[in-house]
């Protein structure tokens, strides 16, 4: 059956279903109009000025400071999410307790809640007069608060907002993998004399590792581009408290399009790196869960 002569293999694959040209054509036109043409415009704008000038814009002090904050805060947030997200996923999959389904549903909140609302709420909670901000203020005292450890209107605030944004990415990538882990393997490990800790590190963790890293990468990638929730809780001071998207935004407002485009391409290249990394990690994940099933 499967060994049909190759000349019968037509574009679209072997199927009798209609609508291939219509739907693919429509998809291609739509993606071209909305993604490819605008992206080409962005890149052409960058090449409309000399490369040396673009390089200067991309490596200006203000830009470098913004990369440090965007990537630094995103990395810290991704690590926090890596640890707490793993715990949340583990508890939601493994343990049964009242309210579990509610917690499971609310994990998606950062996906569904508009970023402006999240930013506003977090800024109110973590400011000096907010519920949490007040606790931190009293714990650390006014000196530390002034010295940059304030939980709102500061770079710590940026990290808080980015942690909020990234949490569901880690939880939702690990959850299905944990769910599909077969109990047999753990029982076998226990029968062979492994204690629970050894079973976790040698049997469970290696199986979840690719998904865990995927989730962390996704959270990190999303956080670097995040704008809405951050601007409410960041200090937004030039050269100190600006994330890269904010620098792009203020260049746009001053009609300095070439500069905005140059920084935009930096973020765009980063998005592609994240996409490629995630694809590689997912291929690894498929290999790992493939061998685990045998």
């Amino acid at each position: 059956m499967h060994a049909q002569p190759r000349k019968h293999h037509r574009f679209g694959g072997r199927t009798i279903l209609p609508g291939f040209r219509l739907t693919l054509g429509y998809t291609l036109v739509y993606v071209s109009l909305l993604v490819l043409i605008p992206m080409a415009a962005l890149i052409s704008k960058v090449f409309s000025v000399p490369v040396s000038q673009t390089w200067e814009m991309v490596t200006s002090n203000r830009a470098i400071a913004s990369y440090a904050l965007s990537f630094g805060a995103s990395a810290v947030a991704a690590v926090i999410n890596g640890i707490l997200g793993f715990t949340v996923a583990w508890v939601l999959v493994r343990y049964d307790f009242p309210g579990r389904r509610f917690l499971d549903a609310i994990v998606d909140l950062p996906f569904a809640l508009p970023t402006a609302v999240a930013g506003l709420a977090l800024a109110a909670l973590y400011s000096k007069n907010g519920y949490f901000g007040n606790i931190f203020y009293n714990l650390m005292g006014p000196e530390a608060w002034q010295a940059g450890w304030a939980t709102a209107n500061s770079n710590v605030g940026v990290t808080i907002a980015l942690t909020f944004i990234g949490l569901p990415f880690v939880v939702r990538t690990i959850q299905p993998v944990l769910q599909d882990l077969s109990m047999d393997v753990e029982e076998a490990a226990a029968c062979l004399g492994a204690n629970r800790w050894q079973t976790f590190w040698r049997v469970i963790f290696p199986a979840v590792l690719p998904a865990w890293l995927t989730g962390i990468t996704l959270a990190f990638g999303r956080a670097v581009g995040e704008y809405g929730s951050v601007v409410f809780i960041a200090s937004n001071r030039q050269g100190k408290g600006e994330i890269t998207p904010l620098v792009i935004y203020s260049s746009l407002e001053q009609v300095r399009y070439a500069e905005a485009a140059a920084l935009g391409v930096v973020l765009l290249l980063f998005s592609f790196v994240v996409l490629i990394l995630v694809n590689l990690l997912q291929a690894w994940n498929n290999r790992v869960s493939g061998t685990a099933a045998i």
Binding site: G19, L34, L113, P114, A116, E226, P245, Y257, A261
Partner: protein, 302 residues
């Protein structure tokens, strides 16, 4: 046959109640559950609670007055208009893309799917920036849309720009939910319908649509929530004119920067309720899908 409907449930190994050897000591379990509950409450539930608490802190009267402010009312209308254009367009796109990707094989499919995913990973400000560069002053299409310093066809700082930016940011959602769903369902039923003489649109309406209706519904709700809540991309193209080009999220920012915290929180409750609705729909759809799969398996064995 029955397994083809929704294989995810049958593929997962049946969960037994854990033995002592395959679970943690009670104190570790208790600790982990406490950490999880505390973290989710502080980090997710509390911010949501604070929005409602702050908005009602000055009483219901203030709440309703701030929502009836003319600029705020205009922002609500503008947001509804943008969503009414964006959501149907992206739903049609999602259906077309999911049909093309899940029913056929063609070279470059992975690249196409990657490009459909791309808006999820592009910074919203960069998304808005692309359209500013296309349509803005000094932009690539300057000659078509500008006459000196005036726009001949208003795209930027007007509804079309808001629509374009929102289209970009929200177009993956319906497609992303439908593609894995339709791939897992397979095409055997559609092929049977064609062999029995159905036309293309009949196959879609009578065979495919009933199979994917819950996924489609969730995709539309999610797309709508993101369309109404988008901030970064529309911020770049809007120009922030209160009463003219401010959508709800932009109006929230304007109110916040003007120090009208009560009004900002009052308007936030509207979007928060939309977010809650989205979460509820998602839970219900997942429950229905599990139920459907369970019934299918029962039918198959019975």
């Amino acid at each position: 046959m029955a397994n083809a409907v929704l294989p995810s449930v049958s593929a997962a190994p049946r969960r037994r109640s854990p033995l002592k050897a395959t679970t943690e000591p009670a104190w570790i379990r208790g600790l982990l559950i406490t950490v999880t509950v505390a973290f989710i409450f502080c980090f997710l539930v509390f911010p949501l609670f604070i929005v409602f608490q702050e908005s009602l802190s000055r009483g219901v009267q203030v709440y309703w007055t701030s929502l009836r402010d003319p600029d705020t009312a205009h922002a609500v209308r503008l947001t509804l208009t943008v969503a009414a254009i964006v959501v149907p367009l992206n739903t049609i796109f999602g259906l077309a893309a999911a049909w093309a990707v899940s029913k056929f094989e063609f070279p470059g499919k992975r690249i196409l799917v990657t490009f459909i995913d791309l808006p999820l990973w592009v910074s919203p400000v960069v998304a808005g920036l692309m359209f500013v560069i296309l349509f803005g002053r000094n932009g690539v299409l300057h000659d078509f849309f500008w006459n000196g310093t005036r726009q001949t066809i208003p795209v930027l700082f007007a509804t079309p720009g808001l629509v374009l930016a929102t289209l970009f940011v929200t177009f993956p959602f319906v497609a992303r939910i439908l593609i894995p769903l339709m791939q897992s369902q397979g095409s055997t039923e559609e092929e049977a319908a064609i062999i029995l003489g159905a036309r293309g649109w009949q196959v879609f309406v009578y065979v495919t649509l009933p199979k994917i209706r819950w996924g489609l519904f969730y995709g539309i709700i999610l797309c709508n929530a993101r369309a109404m809540g988008e901030f970064g991309a529309v911020s770049a193209v809007s120009g922030h004119i209160a009463g003219k080009t401010n959508t709800i999220p932009l109006q929230i920012e304007t109110l916040y920067l003007n120090g009208s915290m009560d009004a900002a929180f009052a308007l936030s409750t509207v979007l928060s309720m939309l977010a809650l609705l989205t979460l509820i729909v998602k839970s219900v759809v997942e429950w229905l899908a599990a139920l459907q799969a369970k019934n299918a398996i029962d039918d198959g064995t019975g």
